[in-house]
Amino acid sequence: MSVLRPHDQLPGLNAATILLVGTEDALLQQLAGSMLKEDCASKLKVHLAQSLPLPSNVNRPRIDLIVFVVNLHSKYSLQNVEESLHHVDATFFLGKVGFLATGAGQESHCSIHRNTVLKLAQAYRSPLLFCDLEVESFRATMAQRLVRMLLVCAGHVPGVSALNLLSLMRSSENPFLEDL
């Protein structure tokens, strides 16, 4: 069973690679496009996958950040993410995984409750971001955030590590359950 591990490979020179996992290819493509528009000193690469595990026997660079994209309109997309999470090694969850929920703007189309994804993100101790990827301006802003996160996770920002970022991103409104 192929499991993604964060330190399986040596990092490439000046390279930062993000893996977007989600069922809706069109949304992932658009997000990837928006991210690559950002000006950035590092060499960015975006890998898109429907689900994990990834096909083996493929040469791929070290993955610095995984973002799981859930469409709140589709139970299928949540189910897909839940199953894919099993193929990620525990050490990835020290700041190198994030969740992105899209579709919250259209309340009437949502078949997944906000709290469901919230609990999922809390269970995996990872940040959860909300963004309606179909809206260009929101998508552009989210793309900027993700690029910043990616650079930190790839170690390109001196003095800040993925773990630092994780503790900075913990929202005080939604503390982890044990902290209560």
Binding site: Q29, Q30, L36, K45, L48
Partner: protein, 339 residues
């Protein structure tokens, strides 16, 4: 002229949008070019209609003439009606004489007139050996109601007729009978196939949809609309599941083809099945009678939407055969029971 006829003229002409007025009147060919030139088409609609009604009165327009105008209006606005599809069959030993349009029209009208005494029947020939029929229904004692007509489009070289859905259900058996007998068939059956888009029904019923299909409002498939730029070309984006994506495209193309899909607005499934559950001791599973449930899929273009489900990642490919069989089976109303 009879007041009711004048009212009928007025209401029929008023239905026509200003932008189409000239085209429709010319197609009608009842008012001459000279007469049409005397009318100022730049006036306000009310006033224009008034002038046109006067011209029709001058020319002694009959109910039949106005009914013809109504057919032309409906031909321009087919999507305002919901069309049912009927299929006729012949018995093996039946008449195999070549079709005679005159005889059909005569016979059809006669059958309805004999049964109802008060009924208006108007015909208009169309291409592909088709005829449009407008029927305004009356009874033994009442004049025909010109404002609730039924339209039939019969393709004479085929056993199919398309009938506009109407509230007047009592007239359907008689209509079926008239169609069957006049066209020298034996039985008529209503197919479980219904849509506003007559063109699409035609294309599916006559199996013409695998050629380039012209619709008035063609919507582009979902995947083309959502990809703004040609991001496929950016080498910094890598698709990990390329093989799976290609498989999905291939399966979708095999099922739906490369051509634009004919346009349907809904598919309805009536389920009468027993509840199946993995959990034991489920109250619903213990029911002896089947559960009844109605599932309806609606879309501005249902088949295109189904085609884009798998490529968009919303469903697995191949889709359920219940969805993909719609054009092949020429049905969009299904009843599903336990075997």
């Amino acid at each position: 002229m009879d007041e009711t006829v004048v009212e009928f003229i007025k209401r029929t002409i008023s239905k026509i949008p200003m932008t189409e007025m000239m085209t429709v009147l010319q197609a009608w060919d009842f008012l001459s070019e000279n007469q049409l030139q005397t009318v100022n088409f730049r006036k306000r609609k009310e006033s224009l209609v008034h002038d046109l009604v006067l011209l029709c009165e001058e020319k002694h327009a009959s109910v039949d003439d106005i009914a013809l105008l109504d057919i032309i209006y409906t031909q321009f606005h087919q999507h305002q009606k919901v069309w049912d599809v009927y299929q006729m069959t012949k018995e093996p030993g039946d008449d195999i004489d070549p079709f005679d349009m005159k005889h059909f029209k005569y016979s059809f009208k006669k059958i309805l007139q004999r049964a109802l005494k008060n009924v208006s029947v108007t015909f208009r020939d169309a291409e592909e050996n088709a005829v449009w029929i407008r029927i305004a229904w009356g009874t033994q004692h009442r004049k025909p109601n010109q404002y609730k007509p039924t339209y039939v489009v019969y393709y004479s070289q085929t056993p199919y007729a398309f009938v506009s859905s109407s509230q007047l259900r009592s007239s359907l058996p008689l209509l079926g009978q008239a169609l069957t007998i006049a066209s020298k068939h034996h039985r008529i059956v209503k197919m479980d196939f219904r849509s506003r888009y007559l063109d699409s029904l035609k294309a599916i019923v006559f199996k013409q949809y695998d050629q380039t299909f012209e619709t008035h409002n063609m919507t582009t498939p979902l995947q083309e609309r959502s990809l703004g730029l040609d991001i496929n070309m950016d080498p910094r984006i890598i698709h990990e599941n390329r093989i799976e994506k290609d498989r999905i495209q291939r399966v979708t193309r095999e099922i739906f083809g490369d051509y634009p899909q004919p346009r349907l607005e809904f598919a309805q499934y009536k389920l009468e099945t027993k509840f199946k559950s993995d959990l034991n001791g489920n109250i619903l599973a213990e029911r002896k009678e089947p559960l009844r449930c109605l599932v309806k899929f609606s879309s501005p273009n249902l088949l295109e939407a189904l085609k884009s489900l798998a490529p968009a990642g919303i469903a697995d490919a191949p889709l359920s055969p219940l969805l993909t069989c719609i054009p092949k089976k020429r049905m969009n109303y299904f009843k599903i029971k336990d075997k």
